[in-house]
């Protein structure tokens, strides 16, 4: 634009004519680029032109040129360049303002024109490009049209050819058909001809044969003979029979017999097959009835009454005739009945199945219906519920597993004991009872012991008293018999040492007759005890006694027994005590208690032993 402006300025500054020329030149230029080039080239030219056209207005012809311009401008509708003449004679003066206004207007006009020109040019360009595009489109389409036209022609040609071909093929087919027909005819005719010829030939052949036969057979050919050493018997041993009417009849009979047998055999087979098929049919029917009867309630409402009647019919039939006999009757009425009922049932079944199918299809169709949505919600709820349940179950399982694992880790001691407890529960119960008994016994023992100890204390007191008495007595004796020698005193000492034992011996002997060596018992040692047991006869009572003795000795009565040897005179009190003791020992309950105690330990050990492996 800048260029433009300058150019126009220059043009304006020089002459309007040149401008018009320029503009015309520019207008002719098709594109801006081109116009610029043209302008560039025209600039030097304009200078020349300028110099050349400078003749338009010279010093001499200013007036004329002004008037010319005025005229020109007025013809173009511009105000006159001259001032309004006041007089006719007066020379018209150039109105500068008007000139300037004119110039300005011209310039504005020029600018407008240029703008318009520009617009027009761009439009022109646009249109030109559009035109080009359209032209190319046009050419392209033209080409396409051409090609499609050509194609169409080609296709038409092909179509024509194909039609021709088709026609020819049709013709050929027709010809072929004709040919086939002809050939068939020919074949047929040939066949007939062949047959005819054959017949003719055969006749001739037969004639010849006949002739030959006559010639050969009737000549009484000596050669035709059988040379046999001797005739052999028949395979069945029978003699050949003469051919008579009888044999003929027999043969017929036999033939029919064979045929009859065959037919009978086949009939039997068919009957068997029939029976099997009937069985199958019966079974099927039963199954059908059983299949249909549960929905009898429903279908009776839905399906027409025929269902019920059919079933009831069948049932009635079943009631009237026993099934077997009905099936065996293969007469037509029954068959009709049967087929009818089966057909009906089949129809019911079919309709039912169809209904089911319809329902299924309906369900499929109503996939997006409201009801289904609800059902789906239900479904979802249900599934949620189920999932929750599953979760719970899983947790349960987990905890159970954990517990199980814990148990598995701790099972080594606990479970075994538990198990053992389980196993020994019964025994434990029993043992508890025994334990209570034992406790009671123990209490008794305790009581006895207490009494015993009391007795012992008493004894001790008595003994003390006795000792004192003896001391006093000895003193008295000593005092009385001061003449006693030293030996005597020793004897006395000895006596004192063994006195208790001898006394006790006596006691034992008194209480138990069979004891031969009672003095040995006085030691209270287990060896002696064993000796005692050995020496004792193996009567159960004594053995019991021994055992009780051993038990008692172990537990409580040892000190009592230990005391006894030191006793000097246990006859009354000691006897009492021992008696008491024996009585306790001989009491069956206490014995048992002892035993049970032993047995308890034993069993315990036994159980432990059991557990070892």
């Amino acid at each position: 634009m800048g260029d433009w402006m300058t150019v126009t300025d220059r043009g304006l500054s020089s002459e309007s004519k040149t401008i018009s020329q320029y503009t015309s030149e520019i207008k002719m230029s098709p594109s801006s680029l081109y116009s610029q080039q043209v302008l560039c080239s025209s600039i030097p030219l304009s200078k020349n032109v300028h110099s050349f056209f400078s003749a338009f207005c010279t010093e001499d012809n200013i007036e004329q040129s002004i008037s010319y311009l005025d005229q020109e401008l007025t013809t173009f509708g511009f105000p006159s360049l001259y001032e309004e003449s006041k007089g006719k004679e007066t020379k018209r003066e150039l109105n500068i303002v008007a000139v300037l206004n004119c110039m300005n207007e011209l310039l504005v006009l020029q600018r407008k024109n240029l703008l318009a020109q520009e617009n027009v040019e761009t439009q022109n360009l646009k249109l030109g490009s559009d035109m080009d595009h359209l032209q190319s489109c046009y050419s392209k389409l033209k080409e396409q049209l051409e090609t499609s036209r050509r194609e169409m022609i080609g296709l038409q040609e092909r179509d024509r050819q194909l039609q021709c071909k088709n026609r020819s093929l049709h013709q050929l087919l027709k010809n072929e058909k004709d040919e086939v027909q002809k050939l068939q005819n020919i074949i047929a005719s040939r066949a007939t001809q062949y047959n005819h010829d054959m017949k003719r030939k055969e006749r001739e052949y037969n004639k010849l044969k006949e002739r030959l036969h006559q010639l050969v057979m009737n000549k009484k050919d000596k050669k035709i003979a059988m040379d046999i050493l001797n005739y052999v018997g028949r395979a069945d041993g029978k003699r050949g029979s003469w051919r008579t009417g009888k044999t003929e009849a027999r043969n017929e009979d036999e033939m029919y017999k064979i045929l009859l047998n065959d037919y009978e055999y086949r009939q039997k087979q068919i009957l068997m097959e029939n029976a099997e098929l009937k069985k199958v049919l019966q079974q099927m029917k039963k199954e059908m009835i059983s299949l249909l009867s549960p929905q009898k309630k429903k279908p009776r409402e839905r399906v027409d009454d025929s269902t019920g009647t059919v079933i009831s019919d069948v049932e009635e039939d079943a009631g009237e005739l026993s099934r077997e006999s009905m099936w065996d009757l293969s007469c037509e009425t029954v068959r009709e009945q049967l087929t009818n009922s089966i057909r009906k049932q089949w129809r019911i079944l079919k309709s039912h199945v169809e209904k089911l199918d319809n329902q299924v299809s309906k369900v499929h169709l109503e996939g997006f219906n409201d009801e289904d949505v609800i059902s789906r919600q239900d479904h979802e709820q249900e599934t949620e519920k189920l999932e929750l349940e599953i979760q719970q179950c899983k947790e349960m399982i987990k905890t159970q597993q954990q517990l199980l694992q814990q148990l598995a880790t701790a099972c080594d001691d606990d479970t075994t004991s538990l198990l053992r407890d389980c196993y020994l529960l019964e025994e434990k119960e029993r043992l508890k009872e025994e334990w209570s008994l034992f406790k009671e016994q123990k209490k008794n023992f305790e009581r006895e012991r207490r009494s015993f100890t009391e007795a012992a204390i008493r004894l001790g007191l008595e003994r003390k008293a006795f000792e004192e008495e003896r001391a006093s007595w000895l003193k008295q004796q000593f005092l009385n018999m001061t003449t006693f020698d030293h030996q005597n005193s020793e004897n006395v000492k000895l006596f004192s040492a063994f006195s208790g034992s001898s006394d006790w011996d006596n006691l034992i002997v008194h209480s138990r007759q069979p004891q031969k060596k009672p003095h040995s018992v006085s030691n209270g040692s287990p060896v002696c005890m064993s000796k005692l047991t050995k020496s004792l006869p193996a009567s159960p009572s004594t053995s019991d006694f021994c055992q009780t003795r051993s038990c008692v000795s172990e537990h409580s009565s040892i000190n009592v027994l230990n005391i006894t040897p030191e006793e000097i005179k246990p006859n009354q009190v000691g006897g009492e005590c021992t008696n008491q003791k024996w009585s306790v020992a001989s009491r069956p309950g206490s014995q048992e208690g002892c035993y049970s105690g032993c047995s308890l330990t034993y069993t315990n050990s036994h159980v432990e032993k059991d557990d070892l492996p």
Binding site: Q184, L212, H213, D221, K223, V232, N251, L259, D262
Partner: protein, 460 residues
Amino acid sequence: MNFSEVFKLSSLLCKFSPDGKYLASCVQYRLVVRDVNTLQILQLYTCLDQIQHIEWSADSLFILCAMYKRGLVQVWSLEQPEWHCKIDEGSAGLVASCWSPDGRHILNTTEFHLRITVWSLCTKSVSYIKYPKACLQGITFTRDGRYMALAERRDCKDYVSIFVCSDWQLLRHFDTDTQDLTGIEWAPNGCVLAVWDTCLEYKILLYSLDGRLLSAYSAYEWSLGIKSVAWSPSSQFLAVGSYDGKVRILNHVTWKMITEFGHPATINNPKIVVYKEAEKSPQLGLGCLSFPPPGAGASPLLSSESKYEIASVPVSLQTLKPVTDRANPKIGIGMLAFSPDSYFLATRNDNIPNAVWVWDIQKLRLFAVLEQLSPVRTFQWDPQQPRLAICTGGSRLYLWSPAGCMSVQVPGEGDFAVLSLCWHLSGDSMALLSKDHVCLCFLETEAAVSTACRQLGGHT
């Protein structure tokens, strides 16, 4: 599996006696009868010329030897070696000779099928049956030997005559609705006779023993028709093999088709086991090569090994392009045989000659296909169990059973090309026939195995 030594043989004439005790074989003009167990020669008969046909009588007491060229039949007795019988057909000529089921009559067909002469070994009587039809299978006896059906041709019409074999009395005579009857076959129960037309027309007719037409069946028209027919041993099915490469199974109640078995060249069903015989040359070690080559006897053993491989489906079988402008084109089901228990059917499609198809009749579907390296010559079912023996003219014997199949090299000097085989009635052994040798093959039976085990146990 054990093999006996080979014996000489000519024109594949070797037959087990019906009681399974003897084995008759022919060497030129000599007939040799051996004991089946010891293979020792029991009798040796000398005929007048080269024997062309032998047949045991049903009671295994006689053997007939036919010398067609001379129009002679010689009969030998096993019980009385000195007994002899010679039947001369003279100028009438002889083209076929067979025993009647009672073993006391011989039916000789003269040249040009002028007549059938029934010679009796018991009496002097000779019967003639005129107008026998010259066809593939024109005479058939019922299993019980009571009746004989004979195809006849009179005045350009086919007839079937049913004779009572005991006195050769004509029981029934009826015309059949056939263009050119080709074969007749009794059902094993002897009550139904299948009659089929020439290969130019697909037509099979079923007649009752009393001559009533029970049913007629035709699968298609204007094409080559029936090629082979077989009754199932239970008389329940009739398998009809035709030139279109299909086997059609008819039932015995309605005589309608139950199913048809196609024999396509490609097998796509993965359920079907396709056993493919594969040959591989043994890898000779360096040690073997360094030694001088072994004798000729060992060479066939070393030449190649063959074994069955289970081919993975789809399998395409080798097909033969038939020459269509010649008579008897090699297409269609040429061989079919039911197993003795009627559970299986073995077939061969003649334009896939290397394959044997085994069909499960219980399920009415294809069970297995065996593809051999060379065309199958014969197959025969074990009379006791579903076990199929196949020979291809090579030196191997092939056995199939539902459990699987195997190929066995027949040992011996030189190549023993097994051209034919026949089972012993016990199913324990079979005779393998080559061009001029016969060899017995003993299969390991359970009893034999158990005895062997017992022996082993005794030793240990």
